[in-house]
Symmetry: C2
Subunit: 334 residues, 2 copies
């Protein structure tokens, strides 16, 4: 993160006072990298975390691996997903793993409790333990192994920076973001490399999905298929009640993706624009509110109900009494 102090993107009130604030930065760019909106420091390097997933899926399609293994649009959506571990996610990924000759034990991601609480509770009742299949990234990992197979490489070790799968991801990211040279990298929550880049460059990469005219044809087709798959299956990209799912369902012409530590990106094909934002403190409640407010300001949402509900939401307590609200300062994105 840079030294500049970013503005407050989201306020949380209680009674008459602002109780907490979330600072951050927002970039809206076109496919040539021109910034249409810049709030805060858009040049500091950030980790996109799971907002990188649409880009991580590009080599899977572009290489021909997806076609060779007959990937459905549902599976492409799952490759881009931070899914909630519901049966609709895990059953599809389990079948896909089997089709490429891999199994749950080949997944490099660790197990974690399904994000979907009812699924987790049902597993507890059945005496089941979560596996790497329930990791929100298991679709991405299955995509990585599919790509490895397509490249004629051993899927084992696909999570290593030196593996051709991760090299393909880094090259694709740099090309789509207009960057050169090695990118700083860290290890993501699911153990694959995550690459850091300026927020403005991440917005540009998302704009390349929205306006792929200048990309090589094979990549343009890959980008179009990814956007089509995400927008066709919003419930597979996240899950029941999740913000990505709600936003895409109410605005079927846009693709959005959240990332850990307060990241959110959006692909806006009808405007030819990409959006990237990072909340300084990494809080999801703020990233959700901020992306919704940006989409409203850009007139990018269809039915605005879901976006408004995220951008300006009542805060309830354990008695379902409204005690405050979550809101974006007026005029921030105008």
């Amino acid at each position: 993160m840079g030294d500049m102090t970013n503005p407050v993107l989201v306020e949380i009130t209680r009674g008459p006072l602002v109780e907490s604030v979330h600072r951050g930065a927002v970039a809206v760019a076109d496919a040539q990298g021109r910034l249409r909106l810049a709030v805060g420091d858009t040049e500091a390097a950030i980790f996109p975390r799971s907002a990188l997933k649409p880009i991580q899926a590009v080599p899977l399609i572009e290489s021909g691996a997806a076609a060779r293994f007959g990937l459905s649009d549902e599976e492409v959506a799952l490759a881009c997903a931070s899914h909630s571990g519901e049966p609709q996610h895990t059953t599809r990924i389990a079948a896909w793993l089997q089709r490429i000759g891999c199994s749950v034990t080949d997944l490099a991601c660790g197990p974690h409790r399904p994000v979907h609480e009812a699924t987790a509770n049902a597993m507890i009742l059945r005496g089941e333990r979560w596996t790497p299949l329930h990791n929100n990234c298991s679709g991405k990992h299955t995509g990585f192994m599919t790509l490895a197979r397509g490249l004629g490489e051993n899927p084992a070790g696909y999570q290593q920076l030196e593996h051709p799968v991760q090299q393909a991801v880094e090259t694709t990211l740099k090309e789509m973001a207009g960057l050169h040279g090695a990118l700083p990298h860290g290890i993501d929550g699911c153990t694959v490399p995550n690459f850091a880049l300026p927020l403005a460059a991440l917005a540009r990469a998302m704009a390349a999905f929205a306006d792929p005219a200048d990309l090589p044809p094979s990549r343009a087709q890959a980008c179009a298929r990814i956007v089509a798959a995400m927008t066709a299956y919003p419930e597979l990209v996240a899950g029941t009640g999740r913000s990505c799912t709600l936003l895409m369902r109410q605005s079927p012409n846009i693709a959005v993706k959240t990332g850990a530590e307060g990241v959110y990106v959006a692909i806006l094909p009808s405007l030819g624009l990409g959006v990237a934002l990072k909340v300084d403190d990494g809080t999801t409640r703020a990233a959700e509110a901020a992306i919704a407010a940006v989409l409203i300001a850009l007139n990018a949402v269809g039915d605005e109900a879901a976006a408004h509900a995220l951008a300006h939401a009542p805060v309830f307590n354990t008695r379902n009494v409204q005690v405050g609200e979550r809101r974006v300062p007026a005029g921030l994105f105008r």
Copy 2:
């Protein structure tokens, strides 16, 4: 919150970069209100949230209600608790409720999932639903109803600002914090009023617990009993693995208490000081790290292991790979 930009209290790194930052303010005061340390804006009004609980327990003792109903030190600790809903908490509170002629249905707090995951999972397996008894504030609420009984008032409505119980809390807070006039208030997560005050004044109120010499004798005794109960039963003030419990267990001469939205307070009897801090964005991981660093800087911890583990902690991913760290910038509190 004020308009001043507070400094970064805690950084979260990933690989070579700082991924997220948490800003906030810290006040360390003596019982006369002199600030020994002030980082950031200590005059802006904040909600103490559950860090108010030691003060909310003062009228319970001072009024004689605790003595009349034979409250044990364990019950006094639970009155100050944000407990994890473990059997060690709920069984004691259930028995206490019965002793004052009240029941779970009299609790004004709503139900929520026990903070302690094993307890929640065991309840799911038994087909049980959480009740207001599992609310982390149920000990405080039982204390409020005990106070109502002691005052000869009807416990019903004890959560209303106008009820003598809440009036006693507001008066006690103002006197201990050195404030005059009505305080701004909001509704807390558990439906009782929470009063806003400057961070410096909250630190002063905590210092009054640490150095009660100037308080009226009945209040000084109440404060001493509360500190003794919290330090004697750290596992009842929070629960298994929780930061308040760990810090108090390793430093039996101090009392600490967390509050929602990034608040932490500490009572340091051997130094005669009180500490209060608020993380701007409301994040617990940052409040825990910051309070630990402040306590280390003040030489207020006994065995420093728990405090160091909170102030400078590795961040692990789902594969238990270290991906970064949580740290407090060097020299911030020196």
